[in-house]
C-alpha cells in the first residue's frame, strides 16, 4: 500500500481513498480481565455508515463482535473481498483489509469505506481506518 500527502495523492491517483480517521486500541490479554464480547471504545466519529467495511475477523464470532462494537448495520457491505476467512496471510491480513477498503473507493464501488486490523486470539489489537472519496 502506498500512502502520500494530499498533493502527491492527486498526482498519482485518479480517485484516491482519503484517510478521514484512525482509531487504534490495545486490549488486555488476560482472560479474566474484561468482557470478551466488548471492545474498548475506539472513539469513531459520527457520520454516515460506510458503504463497505473490511473487518479482520479470522474467526466468525469476531465479525459479530466487531459489527456490534463499530455499529455496522445491514446497509454496509461487510467483507466483499471474502475477508480473512478466504485468505489469511496472518501478518498481512490486516493491511489487506485496509487495502481492500481503499480499493473499493479507488474503483468507484464505494464512496465511504472502513478497514479494520486485529492481532491476538482475543481481538487484543484493533485498528480502524475510515476512508472516503473526495
Amino acid at each position: 500500500m502506498i500512502l502520500a500527502s494530499a498533493e502527491r495523492a492527486r498526482e498519482l491517483c485518479e480517485r484516491p481513498a482519503w484517510i478521514t480517521w484512525f482509531g487504534h486500541r490495545a486490549e488486555s490479554a488476560a482472560l479474566g480481565a474484561r468482557d470478551l464480547v466488548t471492545l474498548a471504545p475506539l472513539g469513531a466519529p459520527d457520520g454516515p455508515m460506510p458503504d463497505v467495511a473490511e473487518l479482520h475477523a479470522p474467526f466468525t464470532h469476531q465479525e459479530i463482535i466487531l459489527r456490534e462494537a463499530l455499529g455496522i448495520g445491514a446497509a454496509t457491505d461487510v467483507n466483499p473481498s471474502g475477508g480473512a476467512l478466504v485468505a489469511n496471510p496472518m501478518f498481512a491480513a490486516g493491511l489487506a483489509r485496509l487495502g481492500c477498503a481503499a480499493q473499493a473507493i479507488m474503483t468507484g464501488r464505494a464512496d465511504r469505506a472502513l478497514g479494520h486490523a486485529t492481532s491476538g486470539p482475543l481481538l487484543q489489537q484493533n485498528l480502524v481506518c475510515t476512508m472516503e472519496a473526495q
Binding site: 500527502s5 490495545a26 488486555s28 480481565a33 492481532s119 485498528l127
Partner: protein, 390 residues
C-alpha cells in the same frame, strides 16, 4: 504544502539494572521497572501517556511470540494504541524514532517508548544461527559475522592491533561509573584485555558485549508537554533530528566496513540538525559498539573522522570523557547488552547527557549529543541528535 513537524523532546528516561539473569522479574516486570522509572523521572503517570511503542529484537531471543500482546497490561497500553517495532539490533533506536515521529506528526502529545531483551530466557547465539533462505548461515552468532569485517577494517586502515583493546578498557571503566551497567570493571587494564581469550579473530573475550537482561523506557512529548516539564523544574532533551536508513545484509558491492546506509543516514541526520562539522559541534556520542573495533569504524561511518582515520581518535584518548568526542560515557553496549533495549539505551543516554542527568558519567557542559544504533548484518541504521535547547 508540507506541514512543519511539531517540536518534540525527551521528558523522562528510565532503565533497569542490567544483569546476566534477572530471575527476580518476568519480562513484564523487567519492562515495568524501566517504565516506572521513566514516569517518575518525567513526573508523569500512566494516564498522561497517549500511546505506547514497544521494541525488541527477534522473538526467538526469548521464545515469546508477539510479546507486545502479553505486555499490554504491564506497559499501561490497554485502551491505547500499542505499536511493535522490529529492526533487529537497531530496534531500540528505531523505537525511539517511531515514537518521536508520532509526536512530531501531531498524532499524539506524549508517547512512551519501551525496549527490552531478557536474554537469559533463551539463547541469542542459537537464535541468530538459523539458516535463512538464499543466505549464508552465520552459525557463530554476531561475533562470527562481524569479525571478518573488522579484519577488513584493520587491513584497510592500517590501525595498530591494540586499538580494540583500548576501546574495551575505556568503555568498561566508563561502565563502572554507571550504576545501571551490567559489567562493573573499574580495574580493567589493557594487559588484561589483551590476555583474554580470542573468540573470533581479532575479537577477544573482553572486547565483546555481554548477554544482558534489561529494559529502557523513554517518554517523548510535544513542545507544550516539554515546556510544562521545564516549568516544573525538569530538564528536557530537545530532539533536533532523526534519521533511519536500510540496506540488504548482502549484495554485490556492499561495503560492510563503511556501509552506504550508515553514510546516508548520517548525512541526512547532520543536514537536518544543521551540523556541518560533527566532531566540533557534537559534545558526546552514544554509539552502538557491540565489539570494540566498531568504535573507530562507526566514527568514520558517522563522519567524526575521515575513512581510515577513526582509530587515531581512539588511540589519542579523544573518545574518553574529557576528549574531543567522548564516546559511550555510559559504558555502552560493551558494558550492557539487553539487545532490543541497547539502541534505546544509546538514545536515552544521549538525552541524559544534554539534560545534565548522567551522574558520574556526565560529560561536563554537554549541550548536543548523538544517539546511534545499528542492527542486522550492518543493514539497519537509526540515529538522533538531541540538544539542551530547541
Amino acid at each position: 504544502m508540507t506541514r512543519q513537524p511539531v517540536a518534540a523532546a525527551v521528558l523522562g528516561v528510565g532503565q533497569t539494572r542490567h544483569r546476566s539473569k534477572r530471575t527476580d522479574v518476568s519480562i513484564a516486570g523487567l519492562c515495568r521497572e524501566a517504565v516506572d522509572r521513566a514516569l517518575a523521572d518525567a513526573g508523569l503517570t500512566m494516564s498522561d501517556i497517549d500511546a505506547v511503542v514497544v521494541g525488541k529484537a527477534p522473538d526467538l531471543f526469548e521464545g515469546v511470540m508477539m510479546p507486545e500482546l502479553y505486555l499490554a497490561d504491564a506497559l499501561g497500553a490497554v485502551g491505547k494504541p500499542l505499536l511493535r517495532v522490529h529492526t533487529a539490533g537497531s530496534v531500540g533506536g528505531a523505537t525511539g524514532i517511531v515514537t518521536a515521529n508520532l509526536v512530531q506528526a501531531g498524532v499524539h502529545r506524549r508517547v512512551l517508548a519501551v525496549a527490552f531483551e531478557k536474554q537469559s530466557e533463551s539463547n541469542a547465539m542459537w537464535a541468530l544461527s538459523i539458516a535463512h533462505p538464499f543466505s549464508t548461515a552465520v552459525v557463530a552468532g554476531a561475533g562470527g559475522y562481524f569479525a571478518p569485517h573488522i579484519r577488513a577494517y584493520i587491513r584497510r586502515s592500517g590501525a595498530p592491533s591494540h586499538i580494540g583493546a583500548m576501546v574495551a578498557v575505556k568503555d568498561r571503566r566508563n561502565g563502572a561509573r554507571n550504576p545501571f551497567a551490567h559489567l562493573q570493571q573499574a580495574d580493567i587494564t589493557l594487559e588484561k584485555v589483551l590476555a583474554s581469550p580470542l573468540l573470533w579473530d581479532p575479537v577477544r573475550y573482553d572486547e565483546t558485549c555481554p548477554s544482558s537482561d534489561g529494559a529502557c523506557a523513554v517518554i517523548i512529548g510535544d513542545s507544550d508537554a516539554a515546556q510544562a516539564s521545564q516549568a516544573g523544574g525538569r530538564p528536557v532533551a530537545w530532539i533536533r533530528a532523526t534519521a533511519m536508513r536500510t540496506e540488504p545484509t548482502m549484495f554485490a558491492g556492499k561495503d560492510p566496513v563503511n556501509p552506504a546506509a550508515g553514510l546516508a543516514a548520517a548525512a541526512d541526520l547532520w543536514r537536518k540538525a544543521g551540523i556541518t562539522s560533527p566532531i566540533d559541534e557534537v559534545d558526546v556520542a552514544e554509539i552502538y559498539v557491540p565489539f570494540s573495533w566498531y568504535e573507530p569504524m562507526w566514527l568514520e561511518n558517522l563522519g567524526f573522522a575521515a575513512p581510515g582515520e577513526g582509530w587515531r581518535l581512539t588511540e589519542a584518548g579523544e573518545t574518553e570523557i574529557g576528549g574531543r568526542i567522548p564516546v559511550n560515557p555510559s559504558g555502552g553496549v560493551l558494558s550492557s547488552n539487553p539487545i532490543g533495549a541497547s539502541g534505546l539505551l544509546r538514545f536515552a543516554e544521549a538525552a541524559l547527557q544534554v539534560m545534565g542527568k548522567a551522574g558520574a558519567h556526565q560529560v561536563p557542559g554537554a549541550r548536543t549529543a548523538l544517539g546511534h544504533a545499528y542492527g542486522g548484518g550492518s543493514q539497519y541504521f537509526s540515529m538522533w541528535v538531541v540538544s539542551s535547547t530547541p
